[in-house]
Subunit: 352 residues, 2 copies
Amino acid sequence: MAALSGLAALRAGRRLWKLPARPSAGLPGCWLRRGYIVGRAESPPTFGLLFDIDGVLVRGHRVIPAALEAFGKLVNSQGQLRVPVVFVTNAGNILQHSKAQELSDLLGYKVDPDQVILSHSPMKLFSQYHNKRMLVSGQGPLVENARALGFQNVVTTDELRTAFPELDMVDLERRPKTTQRPRNDFSAIEGVLLLGEPVRWETNLQLIMDVLLSNGNPGTGLVTAPYPHLPVLASNMDLLWMAEAKMPSDNPVSDVYGANLFNQHLQMAKRGEEERGTGGQQKRQPSTIQSCVSILVCTGIHSSQDPGSEGAQLPFHGHRDFSFSLELLEASHIVHDVNEAVQLVFRQEGWA
Amino acid sequence: MAALSGLAALRAGRRLWKLPARPSAGLPGCWLRRGYIVGRAESPPTFGLLFDIDGVLVRGHRVIPAALEAFGKLVNSQGQLRVPVVFVTNAGNILQHSKAQELSDLLGYKVDPDQVILSHSPMKLFSQYHNKRMLVSGQGPLVENARALGFQNVVTTDELRTAFPELDMVDLERRPKTTQRPRNDFSAIEGVLLLGEPVRWETNLQLIMDVLLSNGNPGTGLVTAPYPHLPVLASNMDLLWMAEAKMPSDNPVSDVYGANLFNQHLQMAKRGEEERGTGGQQKRQPSTIQSCVSILVCTGIHSSQDPGSEGAQLPFHGHRDFSFSLELLEASHIVHDVNEAVQLVFRQEGWA
């Protein structure tokens, strides 16, 4: 959960996802099961909320009762939000409106699809690739999602597999029974788009490797591996975590980490502006996000342990492009549940 | 291709596969596409032949013409072999008699199922696990193959997945729609049996990890990862190589490597016996395999390059339990095709 500064925090919230310096790193799992507040500014409400879903609002298939209480405070008697809210999830194999519908059903309040930020939403920024021929890997409404992001020329791994059946030989049932004639009518692939985890990893990994090693022409022989290889745009670089499994072995700290990392980015940008004399508090737009404060809720996989201490013992599952910093593991606040988190934000913002 | 010393080289050939000190490492890809000769001994025929299949006898779905010529020399007018022969393959997702039938159809000579050594055949040796409850991963006639090897109590990954549907959550279509009640009527798994590559690696890797981390009880919560973990018996530790694909990127040298490694093992065993005074040439059984000579045939993926020089540039794809030795990359002989190889063996053995 997070509070966004700015009058129109919903819009600010959407802009929020455009800020990371390396959106290719995707939205790390950090935005799952954790909360954070963004900013303090001038006019009421001067904050917005970013809600993580799994472990914060929902556990397994059930709404967490505290989430209903929290939304009782956030929604007025006309069913309208009193505070700007967006929902962030590292799910990507769904459509925005399906996720909005799912949340509406659970929360009993009508969630707009535009309030849902999926794992691959930042890829809207990669306009330079939107007209390139991209190999897309993932599951669910893959082509629909790619098109919604702006990618107009996509080939799925299934289409590629059908075009070059000899590349994917692991499954004995799908292995071609006759030797295939090489084809040369297949337009070169210009990039790879990973929209979350696919099924049949052996097939997807093989085809992606073949595309990269052949510089987008998997039907041709390999001379040398091209360097640099074709661009790979990936969401969901983190490990998948399942609340239902008895052994959720990964990523208990990265959600807080992501919120804090974003806050660090905001602070560094602000200092940079001040040092260059180009910015400063007085020149900043009132809707500019100024800070992001993380609130850890204990209805996720955490119940008692301090995430900082646990994080120190665990391997870092973030993307390799993110340097690891122990201090970013600690949430600014730890509360029992999302209802307490909303009360905390309201209190700190002097807002009720 | 290989020549086995001993009167009954077919039997010796079968014994051959029982000799490696670490059969858990499986039969590396080394036995693919390459040839080797084993031994010289007393009575005619004093040698036997181990034929690799892919690239030696068959390429893609077609028999290599030189293989028909070679078998013209090896089979007499009654359709009987003049020289003991076995066929070695790193395929494991098939039944011995299916592979024998396939070879019979291609070679026009009746191959006995006992002449076919599959990748997992050495697992017959692991009798201490034959009555344990083993999780088996792979594809094709999995349970049939496990039973044929001696494993009487197997659970497939599909059966485990059905028992614990919350463990395998990647595929959105298979993800359980309701929260599952934990079950405690599932007998503990005591080991893992990998019979070649499965399909849906994400499912298989996840379930195997869960079994290992939970010490065979995936329904229970994890306290600490057990050490040592349950035994994992694996065949096919090498990378899969496809003759049909335009970019066969892996393992061009490991077949020769495997033959030479076995020869090294034979020589060391012989020296050990001599040093201990327990053996020596005169005391060895005439059917004991004495040496293994590798013959590289160029109908595989090699055509001109010296495998040694190429091997020096390539990463070693063998199992980590095999130490890497550059000298083992070089074949004792390089010939054009399997017919030339048979001629070479006949000539060297003074046999026609």
